[in-house]
């Protein structure tokens, strides 16, 4: 199983500079854990202390915001494309 993950500039320090990495998982939660194993720091950046998706990181599966799918339990299939975009926010 292979899922392509697009990584924003600010998180490429965890991927050796790579902007795309591959991962595995039946759900987004499993993918996050898998990414943390292969790119230490990457998975951890996506979740908060309670293990929930970070409020200021947007994650999309096939261009759909996972907040409207299953959140961290969003099911994934082989060949899915996941994009990570930090929120653009401020005050």
């Amino acid at each position: 199983m292979s899922i392509e993950v697009r990584v924003p500039t600010i998180l490429r320090k965890h991927t050796g500079g790579e902007k795309k990495v591959d991962g595995e998982g039946q759900t987004l939660r499993e993918l996050v854990d898998d990414l943390e194993l292969s790119n230490p720091g990457l998975g951890g950046a996506l979740v908060d202390e309670d293990g929930r998706l970070h409020r200021f990181i947007n994650i999309y599966v096939n261009d759909e915001d996972v907040r409207f799918l299953g959140g961290i339990e969003t099911p994934l299939e082989d060949g899915d494309s996941v994009s990570i975009l930090p929120a653009v926010a401020g005050g």
Binding site: T9, I10, N58, L85, V88, A89
Partner: protein, 149 residues
């Protein structure tokens, strides 16, 4: 006027500047936000992105519109040149929240201030690892209006 160490410059064309100011005015008193895509120092496209928070003191780009813009940039091989938002009642300087939530070190953070309704101010900053430095901004070749000194 709050100052930051000056480092580098940014040149913008007048049309882009006026479009950002017009956008800021269009939803006053709520903060607005948008992106500039560019290559070789030229703005290629200006994206108006909805502020999902619709607040006078906070902005958060609508996630779907943000992805659409970033994908469009990728499709055209443009870079993310700048992220801009408006301050409707305060100066054009990054707030603590702006610094805390600056997750795009590759972009210039532009702030339009409507603190003086008749004289909008525009300033631009690099925010990297929570450190703020300021670009000298030029609009159409002239120094940008930076607000009261």
């Amino acid at each position: 006027m709050t100052r930051a160490q000056l480092q580098g410059r940014l040149d913008l064309d007048r049309d882009t500047y006026e479009a950002m100011v017009a956008h800021a005015r269009s939803d006053f008193p709520y903060e607005v936000c948008g992106l500039l895509a560019g290559t070789d120092g030229q703005v290629r496209k200006h994206y108006v992105i909805p502020n999902a928070a619709r607040s006078m003191t906070f902005y958060q780009m609508d996630a779907k519109a943000l992805l659409g813009a970033m994908n469009d940039m990728d499709d055209h091989d443009w870079d993310l040149m700048a992220i801009y938002h408006s301050h409707t009642h305060t100066e054009a300087f990054p707030s603590p929240t702006d610094v805390e939530l600056a997750f795009y070190p590759e972009a210039v953070y532009l702030i339009v201030s409507l603190q003086d309704a008749d004289a909008p101010a525009l300033r631009g900053f690099d925010i990297v690892d929570s450190k703020v430095t300021e670009r000298i901004l030029y609009v159409g070749g002239e120094e940008a209006p930076v607000g009261k000194r």
